[in-house]
C-alpha cells in the first residue's frame, strides 16, 4: 500500500516536472517578465529609501548653514566699513600701504601710554573706551595720536 502510494507520488511528480519542462514560450516569457518586475520594484524601493533618507540629512545641513550664516555675514560688513574708512580718510592710500610695522609700533605705543593716562584722568571704564590712533610719518619718528570714545576702528594692519 505504501509502495503503491509512493509510486503514484513519483509518477505524478515526474508528470508535473515534464509539463513544466515543456512550458510554452509565451508563458516562460511572462514568468520572466514577472520576475524582473518584482526585482526591479525592489531596486526602485531601495533607491527611494535612499532618496527619502537624504531628506533629513539635507535638512540638517541647511539648518547648520542657516545658523552659521549670520556670523559669516557680519565679517563682510565690518570689512566694508573698514574699507570705507580707508577710502574716506584724509590720508592717501599709500599711507596705508607703506611701513605698516612702523605704524603698528606707533599704535601700540599710544595704546600703552595714552590710554592708561586718559583712564586715570577721566575715570572712564577701559572696556568701554574706544581707541583710535593714527600716526603720520615725517621721517623723524614723531607721531601724533588721537584718542576718541564711542566706536572702535580695527587695527590698520587688519585692512591690508
Amino acid at each position: 500500500m505504501k509502495n503503491e502510494s509512493e509510486k503514484l507520488r513519483q509518477d505524478i511528480q515526474r508528470l508535473l516536472n515534464d509539463q513544466n519542462d515543456n512550458l510554452d514560450g509565451a508563458t516562460r516569457s511572462r514568468l520572466n517578465q514577472a520576475r524582473q518586475q518584482a526585482l526591479s520594484a525592489r531596486r526602485k524601493r531601495r533607491s527611494m529609501f535612499w532618496g527619502w533618507s537624504m531628506v533629513p540629512a539635507a535638512f540638517v545641513i541647511i539648518l547648520v548653514l542657516l545658523i552659521r550664516q549670520p556670523s559669516n555675514m557680519l565679517q563682510p560688513a565690518e570689512e566694508g566699513i573698514a574699507d570705507l574708512q580707508i577710502l574716506t580718510s584724509e590720508d592717501s592710500l599709500e599711507f596705508f600701504q607703506e611701513d605698516m610695522a612702523f605704524y603698528e609700533w606707533v599704535y601700540e605705543l599710544t595704546e600703552e601710554q595714552i590710554v592708561p593716562d586718559r583712564r586715570s584722568d577721566s575715570g572712564v571704564d577701559s572696556s568701554n573706551t574706544m581707541v583710535r590712533a593714527s600716526g603720520r610719518a615725517d621721517g623723524s619718528g614723531k607721531s601724533t595720536g588721537r584718542v576718541s570714545t564711542g566706536w572702535r576702528t580695527p587695527r590698520v594692519s587688519w585692512f591690508i
Binding site: 503514484l8 509539463q19 513544466n20 511572462r30 520576475r35
Partner: protein
C-alpha cells in the same frame, strides 16, 4: 534572489494553474506572489524562502478565489468570455517528444489536473508541496500555516483521493 525566483517560478505557475484553472489568473497570482515575497521576505534566511514563497502564493490564490466568487456572484454579466490565448504562442516548448508520447502525456496530465482540482485547496496544498516539491512536513506546515499533524492528515487524504481517481487511467 533572481536565481531563487527562477527556480520556483514554473512550479508556482503550475500550482496556481491547478488552483485557479485559468492561465492569466495563474500568471497574475505568480507575479503578485513574487512582488510580495521580494518586498517582505527577501531579508529572511535563504533556507526559509521556499516555504515562505509558497505560503504567499497560496495566500494570493485564496485572495483571488474570494475575489472571483464575488465577481461571479454580482458581476457575472460583465466578465469576458473564454481565454483568447494565441495558439501559436501557446504551442509546447521545443523539448516536446514524439506526437504519440505527447498525446499520452497530455491525456495523463488532463486526468491528473482534473483529479487535483477535485481536491480541497488544503489537500492540494499538502500534496503539491509535500509530494511534488518535496518540502519537509515542517516546511509544508509553515507554507500552509497549520500544524504538522494537519499536514499529514491532508496529505494522506489527498493521496487516497488521487489513487482512487487515477488508479485505472494512469499510464
Amino acid at each position: 534572489m533572481d536565481a531563487f525566483l527562477q527556480s520556483v517560478e514554473r512550479q508556482a505557475y503550475r500550482i496556481a494553474l491547478v488552483a485557479t484553472r485559468h492561465h492569466e489568473d495563474a500568471l497574475d497570482v505568480v507575479q503578485e506572489a513574487m512582488l510580495r515575497f521580494v518586498e517582505k521576505y527577501s531579508k529572511k534566511p535563504r533556507e526559509a524562502w521556499k516555504p515562505l514563497f509558497f505560503r504567499i502564493l497560496y495566500n494570493q490564490i485564496t485572495t483571488l478565489q474570494r475575489r472571483r466568487t464575488v465577481q461571479h456572484k454580482w458581476f457575472s454579466w460583465l466578465l469576458p468570455g473564454k481565454d483568447d490565448t494565441n495558439p501559436i504562442e501557446a504551442r509546447p516548448g521545443s523539448r516536446t517528444k514524439e506526437p504519440e508520447h505527447a498525446t499520452r502525456v497530455n491525456t495523463a496530465y488532463n486526468a491528473l489536473e482534473n483529479a487535483l482540482t477535485d481536491l480541497s485547496l488544503r489537500q492540494q496544498q499538502a500534496f503539491l508541496l509535500r509530494g511534488w516539491q518535496e518540502l519537509s512536513v515542517a516546511e509544508t506546515a509553515t507554507a500552509m500555516q497549520c500544524s504538522e499533524g494537519s499536514v499529514k492528515t491532508h496529505y494522506s487524504r489527498a493521496l487516497e483521493v488521487l489513487r482512487e481517481r487515477l488508479g485505472d487511467h494512469w499510464p
